[in-house]
């Protein structure tokens, strides 16, 4: 639970991530906070988003309190309109049919590169993380990529140990030069701030900060210095309605840890 004792950090992250979701779009999500955020947005301002899971699932209707624990299981696939082969889902995305995606990560750097592979050296890792799954594919070809993660210094690193999922690589035009001509990092949502990327340098840029936090708190929880928007907006904390709906979606707190 947060200092206000009204909501946990993961609840806060889920609510702020939900707010970043636009209505009437196809949205690629994984399990955990991204899925909760999608489900919450669907019950609020984005009733017409269409959820896509990499297991081969288009437009499912998840049963309340039957949350899936993977993107390829019956809870995720319930009442889906299409159950295509897995490669087809990524081809839809490469073709341009997936508007938004939400991914998480153990490490994120100043250009929005994400690491979910290893802490330390690849061949002899300190921590062997689960790996890319579809995250690399999402970050490579989804039209708009939202990174959603807790705001912690160990996560917001200068340089990720391993680029699992490309952001703007080394900034400026390096993403395009690498051949990544489709899609782009769109926003970074944390439990403290909402960030985007500088138009020119592609450095992460703080656009908004949670009410009650000052910018220094945000910065002190990052291992690099992002650009600060001229006009930092204030993010309102979760409303009663947001929290109530969120808790209805995950009553057993499988994901709201």
């Amino acid at each position: 639970m947060s200092s206000s004792n009204q909501y946990s950090r993961s609840e806060l992250l889920a609510v702020l991530t939900a707010r970043a979701i636009e209505d009437r779009k196809t949205l690629f999500v994984g399990v955990g906070i991204p899925m909760l955020a999608a489900a919450l947005a669907q019950r609020l301002h984005a009733p017409n988003i269409v959820i896509v899971f990499e297991g081969g699932i288009i437009a499912p209707q998840i049963k309340p309190s039957y949350l899936p624990l993977s993107t390829n299981e019956v809870r995720a696939a319930r009442r889906a309109l299409v159950l295509p082969p897995i490669c087809d889902v990524f081809f839809y995305q490469q073709r341009g049919y997936i508007d938004f995606a939400i991914i998480g990560g153990a490490q994120v750097d100043m250009y929005g590169n994400v690491n979910t592979s290893v802490i330390g050296e690849y061949s002899s890792p300190k921590v062997r993380l689960p790996g890319s799954g579809g995250a690399n594919d999402i970050a490579s070809t989804c039209s708009n990529i939202i990174i959603s993660t807790l705001h912690e210094r160990r996560r917001f690193v200068k340089k990720v140990d391993f680029i699992t999922s490309p952001g703007y690589l080394s900034g400026n035009r390096s993403r395009e030069q690498a051949g990544l001509i489709f899609g782009k990092p769109f926003k970074v949502v944390t439990d403290m701030a909402v960030m985007s990327f500088d138009d020119e340098t592609k450095t992460m840029k703080v656009d908004a900060v949670l009410r009650g936090l000052n910018i220094e708190t945000v910065l002190s929880n990052m291992d690099f210095r992002p650009v600060i928007s001229k006009d930092v907006e204030t993010i309102e904390p979760p409303t009663e309605e947001e929290l109530m709906l969120l808790r209805q979606i995950d009553p057993d707190r499988l994901m709201l840890k």
Binding site: P85, Q94, S124, S140, G179, L254
Partner: protein, 317 residues
């Protein structure tokens, strides 16, 4: 990474007997005939959906060594293969038991101590390696993996599209020695039908040199001749046909049974408590300590199996 020998891998397929002939055999025979020490083995399904667990158990009982496992999203089955010393390498895009249980202690132990290798690709990367092989071409283009350390780490190459000038990453074909697919049903010749999501099973079967088909049900020719538009994998890919009800347990099988999360918890609890040793105790108790997968199912108890059947219908409604 090994270079791609498209000619050798085509010749293997050319040499196959493609006549229609019954291929029904026991799982024991299928695994002993088509799996071998050092083999590259691909497993169908995805994470804990339609994982060919009966075949994994048989591999563990027969005790093969130095296997390479190919799978898109992998988990529990990799733990078992690692802990019993069968696996030297995993080629996959992701490996963990599932959201509820966090990272795999077993995978971490083996990879962090360099006892086994984890060659990581993107999810589509694994799919395209199998797709290229299935199509009979040595490599196939994509925009995935460009600029990432997955690209660098696997020494991936580019070509320039000769019509657009665009840079394309070329994904090399991957030809498993043997693939195991667990289908909803298969006929005696090996025509496999799968209900629900089909994951990468079609590409995998066409990419592999040999295919073992386990299925909930072996149907006769007449059945397939009336439902050819439901056949996903043609018989000529398939070398062994095995009927194994609940053959994906404790993973799910579409329309038939849900994942048995309580059994997964039981396994995870042992690993939580004792690490790799816990996994070994589990294997001894549930897999190598019994003679067949059906004995394992009996140990689990019919009541649980029936409960998983009800559970699937409960979710889907």
């Amino acid at each position: 990474m090994t270079l791609v020998d498209v000619k050798l891998n085509r010749r293997k397929i050319e040499e196959k007997d493609k006549s229609l002939r019954p291929k029904v055999m026991t799982l024991k025979e299928a695994v002993s005939r088509f799996v071998f020490d050092g083999a590259v083995v691909a497993l169908g399904g995805c994470l804990y959906s339609r994982t060919p667990m009966a075949a994994v158990h048989e591999v563990l009982r027969q005790g093969f060594k130095n296997l390479t496992l190919v799978r898109n999203l992998a988990g529990y089955e990799v733990d078992l293969l690692l802990a019993s010393g069968c696996l030297k390498k995993l080629v996959a895009s992701w490996c963990a038991p599932g959201y509820a249980w966090g990272m795999s202690k077993v995978l971490r132990h083996y990879v962090e101590n360099r006892l086994a290798e984890f060659e990581e690709w993107s999810h589509l990367g694994i799919g395209l390696r199998l797709t290229a092989a299935a199509m009979g071409i040595p490599s196939i283009p994509t925009f995935s993996m460009l600029g990432s350390d997955i690209e660098k780490n696997n020494g991936l190459k580019h070509v320039e599209c000769p019509y657009s000038g665009v840079k394309m990453l070329m994904v090399p074909a991957l030809y498993p020695d043997v693939a195991v697919i667990h289908g909803s049903r298969v006929d005696v010749y090996g025509n496999i039908q799968i209900d629900g999501y089909v994951h990468m099973d079609r590409e995998m079967a066409l990419a592999a040199g040999r295919v073992i088909a386990t299925a909930e049900e072996v149907v006769n020719e007449e059945f397939t001749r009336h439902s050819g538009d439901r056949t996903l994998i043609p018989y000529f890919c398939v070398d062994a046909v095995v009927e194994q009800p609940f053959g994906a347990y404790p993973s799910e099988c579409w329309n038939l049974y849900d994942t048995d999360f309580s059994h997964m918890n039981l396994y995870q609890k042992k690993v939580e408590e004792k690490g790799v040793e816990g996994a070994r105790e589990y294997i001894q108790e549930y897999i190598t300590g019994v003679d067949s997968f059906t004995q394992f199912l009996e140990k689990t108890g019919l009541e649980k199996l029936f409960k998983n059947r009800r559970s699937f219908r409960d979710v889907i409604e």
